[in-house]
Symmetry: C2
Subunit: 604 residues, 2 copies
């Protein structure tokens, strides 16, 4: 392809809103343009690189037997109502009514569509397992789209779904997907951090996220300095820095603690003020927070204050008192998982007053029986703590877990932070920001049950299949490649996803130089190498800058000087190298082609 | 690929709403499923065929230097407002507001998006000509989607756009696109009818539609029995079956016509009743119809009754009296083009009364000066006609064009019909229903002007580029292939778009037969042939039926009987043939592969 016949509008300026390297460079290299906030057009150069990533994803999906299909992008609201997500999805799902007033969704994900299709075709266990995928347009109505295609509104996702007779079969596909994902990211030249969520029992609610480090990442990762433990802070655990005790053990541990007593704490509002007032540290406080939980699936029939909640199987609104050591924070994702709630949030002032008989700041577990108390493990180690006393300006001290209160449930709901101890090896944990590129997830029966999918097993009995879902953001993967592979001058493509393998730069595209350049281009094309010939009448400096900016791995410079040598030569340079070397004109195609093939093998 | 590892849910039953062959067969062959009215999912087999068509389109676009890019599917309403089509597009364009109340469009076509992008990048004449295209999802909110993917709501279209310095350059790209389209349809095995619209001056508003014959087509085509003249009835012309005359010539032609006179025609309402009453035929009537025209760009400043119309350059509403020979019909598309109106429709009763002083049915050109009269060419040949007399129950007879009235404008606004005479060769014209698969169109300055696109010419002067647009419906092309290539038993794929080239059918997939089948499959794969191996434990009859239904071009049957011959043999049959032939097992791959390659060459 001749440069003058394509459309690569490179820019010297950086758009004001482009704060990360991939956004800046995709604009400057003429890969993308913005049509509206969060809506981008891939220009020809960008689309070439995009297609490479897409094709790698496709090949690895095909390799594990997943079957590509394609549902529509505009999907009927009906299937989302069946699964219950029409209400659950929130405003990020773009909904539209057509001229007949029917509800539609510009699909953000496709569990429902795939499940609806499989439901109609599935009859026998012999059809399972079944893995289907698409690589297709998605839309998420981000309020603040940012960072170019890294967080756009419209994007392309590879989403796969699988259906199985049993957990073992699901796990097999889940593992194969995990291996395929590792392969995909390796082929793209990406260093990903696989982050395992709570593994649970085999076939349970396993999930794994594939993260790349990013200063602007949505996720906080907890990593270990010593081992390869990696977790999303939302689910990260750590080794306890306390002695966890059962209520009975706690009673003995409190043998020397004086009985708890009231302390007047007038005008003391924050934990810090309380510490100063009582000459204590926050680690000595039993912090008590009142949480409101939505759509709770936990059985609360025997929980204090909950006997009247309806319906029994999913309670729309329930309140919990949550106790945790004063120097720690509650991880709301872990809390929500513990009480099987769709969401949890701090209760409003009025609910706190109603439930604790005291304003915010004076809740405490002693004598609190208007709602269930959740005790973080850290509190089970506390035998001489300070808590609110359920009355304004009043606290208790010498409070001991087990002796003075127990709680309805205990669990790990602490937010792990840098400096905590690795639960696997005892090493020190640290934090990193990360962006999620992929996610594999054992869904279980969520969709197959709500959407009434069934098949007949070997005994002719009707069964519900279990299900997995597996996603990769294609745009985000492409942008992450640039984040990991660039320098001041531009992109440095791994050859596996480079829009072209070679760029030929004639110093001046005329006479001998033109003839030699054309011959080289034809030679590369014949060898199956993707070559761009910069035939523009620009100064060499402009051409070199554009070659660096667009990041094409191999550059071949053709000039009068080299050609006039007794054995005519051209200059060869890899984008990541500083130095170039001269190669005989007649051997240049063979030389570079073999290097490209070697490099492609590394990424294969 | 083994049949049991893929997902081809074939059906014996036909969905009730599937009335055309492609719809029926795509369902039955497990190529598509319906998710909602007009919204289809391509299953793996369907997607494979779809991709073949898509790839043929892509190759032919690339071959003429068009550059693929990809704007988003959800596009900002803003650019549609700039071009003026936000209002013009009507309800078939699906509009949506996001959570921030911004307007978006699920794009039905992309003149605006491409033009907006090019506008920002275009500076110099040296960047032109430029041709860009996408193959991407489109949405049209059809009220009654029908016929499967032939007229769905969501579909994939290849749409290309080009920008040029001058008409000559536009024409060159337009011609290249036309050639590429012919190639694309040939490669898909489709017989298309290229339908030229009014060619106009070079660089004028040329357009060409690529039609396939279809009983359920949206378009009526006028074709010649003798030559290859083909036109959309909307624009078709025919040779005159009358003597066209200037007003002066008409006056002499009417030399022997008595002066016109009133005839009482009480209670006579239709032309038929009038014919009976006057003992005449409809060809003797000068039919006069009052039309309302919207957004008229024709200069009406000197037209009767129009002097007060504002604004001068585009009149929102104007009325015309249209005269035509009584046995002919007015073609409203041709009429709208003649008066440069966005749309024309018959005027309402009240407007007819106001403008003619008579109820509907008694309009006539004699003495009518409240509005401009448009005279179809056919009327210029009439020197003794009957017309309404602008009063209830009253007609004139012996009316002669030129002598008794002239009209403000004459033109060809007649609807051509079967039996009319070909304007090119004098042959007889006939009608066919057709579906449009592609359309190439010289847009001119419509978008570049309204969206203010400009570039600097060689002299540094700002100029507006001219533009073309070129579309192909990919789904509809695929469905049309099936319409043209099927029989009672199923699809008969042209090898160029077949989802697989070969299907191997073992009579019973075990023992020797299994070994031989596996070896054949491996052999085909090694030769680069796409092969499906029916490894299911179904009866041979079921497998043969599915092979016929899915239409895979070559079938290789492997059975004990053939394998037990001294020279083991398998049975080979092409889907379109009745008879099969035995081929030595060892030569089967080579034999079929060479046949496939020959066939592929035919379609290349």
């Amino acid at each position: 392809m001749n440069y003058s016949s394509t459309f690569i509008p490179t820019l010297r300026e950086v758009p004001a809103d482009a704060v990360i390297a991939s956004h800046r460079l995709m604009f400057r290299a003429g890969m993308i343009r913005k049509l509206a906030n969060g809506l981008f057009a891939y220009l020809p150069l960008g689309l070439r690189a995009f297609r490479k990533v897409e094709q790698i994803v496709r090949e690895e999906m095909d390799a594990i037997g997943a079957l590509e299909m394609r549902p529509p992008v505009v999907q009927p609201g009906e299937v989302w109502k069946e699964s219950g997500r029409w209400d659950a999805m929130g405003e990020a799902m773009l909904r539209v009514k057509n001229r007949l007033e029917n509800d539609f969704v510009i699909t953000p994900t496709a569990e429902e569509a795939f499940t609806a299709i499989v439901r109609d075709e599935l009859s026998s266990y012999r059809q399972l397992p079944l893995s289907l995928y698409q690589i297709n347009t998605k839309y998420r109505d981000e309020i603040r789209p940012r960072y170019g295609v890294m967080r756009g509104r419209e994007f392309v996702m590879k989403d796969a779904y699988s259906w199985h007779c049993d957990d073992e079969s699901l796990d097999k596909t889940y593992q194969a997907m995990g291996r395929a994902y590792r392969k995909i990211f390796k082929r793209c030249g990406l260093s990903v951090i696989p982050v395992k969520a709570d593994s649970g029992a085999m076939g349970g609610s396993g999930s794994e996220e594939f993260m790349v480090e990013s200063e602007i990442g949505d996720n906080t990762l907890i990593l270990c300095k010593k081992c390869d433990n990696a977790a999303n802070v939302e689910k990260a655990g750590c080794a306890p820095d306390f002695t966890a005790r059962s209520p009975e053990e706690a009673v003995s541990a409190a043998a020397n603690t004086p009985p708890f007593e009231k302390v007047d704490t007038p005008n003391v509002k924050t934990i810090d003020e309380l510490c100063a007032f009582l000459k204590s540290t926050s680690a000595n406080f039993i912090k008590t927070l009142i949480y409101r939980a939505v759509n709770v699936e936990l059985d609360l029939s025997n929980a204090p204050g909950c006997t009247n909640l309806e319906p029994k199987n999913q309670i729309p609104e329930a309140f919990f008192a949550v106790t945790i050591r004063g120097d720690l924070d509650v991880n709301e994702v872990k809390l929500a998982a513990l009480v099987k709630a769709a969401e949890v949030e701090l209760a409003g002032d009025r609910d706190v007053l109603r439930l604790t008989n005291a304003p915010v700041g004076f809740a405490g577990p002693v004598g609190l029986n208007s709602l269930p108390i959740i005790v973080d493990h850290s509190v089970t180690g506390m035998n001489d703590g300070v808590t609110g006393a359920l009355a304004k300006d009043l606290h208790y001290r010498h409070v001991a877990y087990g002796r003075d209160f127990t709680g309805w449930m205990t669990g790990d709901i602490r937010t792990v932070k840098a400096g905590d101890v690795c639960p696997l090896c005892g090493g020190e944990l640290y934090e990193k920001k990360g962006n999620e590129l992929g996610h594999i997830f054992k869904l279980g029966y969520k969709y197959t049950r709500s959407m009434q999918v069934s098949y007949l097993d070997e005994n002719g009995k009707s069964q519900i299949p279990t299900m997995g879902s597996y996603g990769i953001g294609v745009d985000r993967t492409l942008a992450s490649v640039i984040e990991e592979h660039h320098d001041e001058a531009g992109i440095i493509w791994p050859v596996s996803v480079a829009p072209y393998h070679v760029i030929i730069v004639p110093i001046k595209y005329e006479g001998e130089v033109k003839t030699a350049s054309d011959r080289l281009a034809a030679g590369f094309e014949k060898a199956g190498i993707e070559v761009l010939l910069d035939d523009r009448s620009e100064r060499p400096g402009v051409k070199f800058n554009d070659a660096d900016l667009t990041g094409i791995p191999w550059r071949v410079v053709v000039g009068d000087k080299g050609l006039s040598l007794p054995q005519p030569q051209v200059e060869i340079k890899h984008r990541r190298d500083k130095d170039n070397r001269m190669v005989e004109l007649d051997r240049a195609v063979e030389d570079v082609t073999s290097k490209i093939r070697e490099e492609l093998d590394i990424y294969a």
